[in-house]
């Protein structure tokens, strides 16, 4: 037995099924699935610029006859939704499975949407493993099923499946059956003339899937007391088993389509049927639509966030186990930019400039938190640039604060680039800051087109951000070291001075977690207590509660020197 995370197990399942092409864009909690797949023998795997590209690469590989594997997080599926819906018409050549990892509780995401709705909307079968063994086995089986029903299969996980390690009996690889490519425009060219008949094929397939799902082994009943019957899936199944060990449980392994007949039969065997799910009403609505009376729990389950066994027990009126009350004086501990983070001074100076800042997705979203508190919007990948354009359109005729879009190198490659093309095309104004820290930092320092590192270490090219930007006809481009306060300040001042033009500043310095270089730490010698250094939000700088004077934690300080540039009293010096 091996202890595998759900992500590793899903990768193992795809590998065992003979999948040989993998494509993804990293996103928590899905990232390690493609990393684990890439580390297995006899596979090709790559990071793509975004999830839409990744699914299209996988679909192309499938059309060509290979078994293919794609992964993304829930919001990544929004990006990939365009090929997804039509892949449900074309079907597959070689089997195609796609992991979509949801984040109920939003540990590392901007929303907690439920990907089940995509399965229902696109009419693509979806499996919900409840532990790593199931994650491996279901994913492996999904390939044979994908070919049998001529349709991509979605594997849905959540943070508690993807990032929970449970024992797995690893399956060995079997070679996939051959599906040599033959030109077949009626299947693969989705123009109206061909799409209309494929729509009929899709409907026939849905009927076949609905028949299959009544018999398939992934839906199973755990018999218990008649009094309470629960319908659930995925990680919630584990919580239900712990919270209500005597209940009868219908564990769904396939969450679209639902086995309506089996569910109705199950409902007949219990006094009251309940549906338990996280941050959604998808399952409840779908079970009710099958003509089943779904009962309300004694007190409602929370509509937002993750479930736990405790929350489920509470909803059924069971007492919580004895425990200590939460202490009221525990300070919150949100994440923060690392000591020496090259993003810090950009936000400090943008705040000084009183800019309207349209932010984006990455470590630098932390610039929104105090004390930097310098972000006005953050919605989705790439939105910084396009929303900044919208701000400029709305405010352009008025006397307004400078509008600045802030985006990382990887996010720029993901979808910021198409936003910038659009702004340039429409003669938009404003300033775009590309924070080029040479990596996709938040998800664990993956490669991207602008650092030239690929997932399996193959030779690549390091693309030139300023060259790409210049090719759009944008004339004002500056390259700045973000650890140089004066350079950051003057570059921002110059770029925002002319309200009618579009300018781009590339702030280039590697993420401190890449090389982990440590210079001699700094220390504070003759602090006056002015507190300016504290406004940088560096985890290495603190204030003595009694004297109000600042100090530097020399174990945390990496000697970047950012703070020394802000001390008007020259009280911050390199420790000798």
């Amino acid at each position: 037995m091996e202890l595998l995370s759900g992500n590793e197990a899903i990768a193992r399942g795809a590998w065992a099924a003979g999948a040989r092409i993998g494509a993804a864009y990293p996103g928590t909690p899905s990232t390690e699935a493609m990393e684990a797949f890439a580390a297995l023998p006899e596979v090709y795997a790559e990071w793509c610029t975004n999830e839409k590209v990744a699914l299209e690469v996988a679909l192309g590989a499938s059309a060509a006859g290979a078994r293919a594997f794609a992964t993304c997080k829930h919001v990544g599926l929004n990006v990939a939704a365009d090929p997804l819906f039509t892949a449900a018409y074309t079907g597959v050549g070689g089997g195609l499975a796609m992991l979509v990892a949801d984040d109920p509780g939003m540990y590392s995401s901007q929303n907690e949407q439920d990907s089940h709705y995509y399965a229902a909307a696109a009419q693509l079968p979806m499996m919900d493993p409840a532990d790593s063994q199931e994650a491996q086995d279901m994913t492996r089986d999904a390939y044979e099923l994908s070919e049998r029903f001529d349709v991509p299969f979605l594997i849905r996980s959540t943070v508690r499946i993807s990032h929970t390690r449970t024992p797995v009996e690893p399956k060995m690889r079997t070679e996939a059956p051959e599906h040599p490519f033959e030109s077949d425009p009626a299947k693969w060219v989705m123009m109206p003339a061909f799409a209309k008949p494929r729509r009929v094929v899709q409907l026939e397939r849905v009927s076949a899937l609905k028949a299959w799902v009544e018999e398939c082994p992934y839906n199973r009943i755990i018999e218990g007391e008649r009094r309470v019957g629960i319908v659930c899936a995925g990680a919630v199944f584990q919580h239900v088993r712990e919270a209500l060990p005597t209940a009868s449980v219908f564990k769904l392994g396939v969450t679209w389509p639902l086995p309506a007949q089996r569910l109705r039969a199950f409902a007949d065997t219990v006094d009251a049927l309940y549906v338990i799910e996280e941050a959604s009403t998808y399952l409840r609505d779908a079970v009710a639509a099958a003509g089943i009376t779904v009962h309300d729990t004694l007190s409602p389950l929370p509509g937002a966030g993750e479930l736990t066994p405790s929350l489920i027990r509470a909803a059924f009126g069971e007492e919580q186990p004895a425990h200590h009350d939460a202490a009221e004086d525990v300070p919150a501990r949100p994440p923060a930019l690392c000591p020496g983070c090259p993003h810090r001074l950009v936000f400090k100076e943008l705040a000084r400039l009183k800019a309207i800042v349209c932010g984006d997705i990455g470590c630098y979203t932390l610039g929104a938190l105090p004390p930097l508190s310098c972000m006005d919007t953050c919605v989705c990948m790439g939105a910084s640039i396009s929303m900044a354009h919208g701000f400029e359109l709305a405010l352009g005729a008025t006397d307004h604060r400078p509008v600045v879009g802030v985006i990382g190198d990887s996010t720029f490659a993901h979808s910021g680039l198409s936003s910038l093309v659009s702004t340039a095309y429409n003669n938009g104004a404003g300033t775009i800051c590309i924070l080029d820290n040479r990596t996709t930092a938040m998800t664990g320092r993956q490669g991207n087109p602008f650092n030239g590192t690929t997932l399996q270490g193959r030779a690549s090219r390091e693309m030139d951000i300023e060259g790409v930007v210049a090719s759009l006809g944008i004339e004002e481009i500056t390259i700045v070291d973000p650890n140089d306060m004066q350079a950051v300040r003057s570059a921002l001042k110059a770029a925002t001075a002319n309200a009618d033009t579009l300018s781009v500043i590339v702030f280039r310095r590697p993420c401190v977690l890449l090389e982990r270089v440590r210079e001699k730490p700094y220390l504070i010698t003759s602090c006056t207590g002015c507190g300016v250094c504290l406004t940088l939000g560096c985890p290495a700088i603190g204030k003595h509660a009694d004297t109000g004077l600042s100090y530097i934690d020399m174990d945390l300080c990496i000697g970047c020197g950012q703070c020394a540039q802000y001390c008007r009293f020259n009280a911050i010096e390199v420790a000798e």
Partner: protein
């Protein structure tokens, strides 16, 4: 029967590695295991928790209020934060390290008063993890000191622990990590707090 251990601390303290060693040791000893980790944004110095459940039969991978048999905190404020998750008569071991969150560093909030005293009032054993690790050769092995302390509360045999520790840490720091583990275990035994 299953045992739930909650490991908590601050992103970057090595809670996940410690959880992996615990889980692998339990697996080696023939138990069912689940380890639930939090990755991503929280790792940037935020509060992190890792849940490890093991035993003959393990269902949920997460701890709710009053369900953790043992809470192992790598940091004092996090020990206080996660105290509600400990069950009645549960065990709490906490490192004496205190890492101030941003709001405390900048003076907007204060360190909770008398953290150590309040933790000791509920039976916590406070472990000098960092100084013990430094003595063993590297401050980075603080997580192994805490794991060693935890080992004194569990019934897995030492060879199983040491084999897994060796499998998880780089070869050049193996000795320091094993020494740190043993010192943490000895500390708890000396305190009379062991199983």
């Amino acid at each position: 029967m299953s045992v739930k251990v909650l490991l908590c601390g601050v992103g970057g303290q090595g809670t996940i590695l410690a959880a992996h060693v615990l889980a692998q040791t339990a697996l080696r000893c023939g138990q069912q295991v689940k380890v639930s980790e939090i990755h991503g944004m929280a790792q940037r110095g935020g509060a992190v928790t890792t849940d490890v459940a093991f035993g003959e039969n393990v269902e949920s991978m997460v701890c709710g209020p009053g369900t953790a048999d043992i809470v192992v905190s790598f940091e004092l404020i996090e020990a206080l934060r996660n105290l509600p998750l400990m069950r009645d008569q549960g065990r709490l071991i906490a490192s004496d390290e205190l890492i101030k969150p941003a709001s405390v560093l900048t003076g907007r909030q204060a360190v909770p008063r008398d953290v150590v005293g309040r933790l000791q009032d509920v039976g916590a054993v406070i472990v000098p993890a960092r100084s013990t690790a430094v003595e063993a050769g590297t401050a980075k092995a603080s997580n192994m000191v805490m794991l060693g302390a935890l080992s004194a509360l569990l019934s897995f045999e030492m060879p199983a622990w040491e084999e897994t520790v060796c499998a998880f840490v780089p070869e050049r720091t193996r000795e320091a990590n094993i020494d740190a583990f043993r010192a943490g275990r000895a500390f708890l035994i000396e305190k009379g707090a062991a199983l």
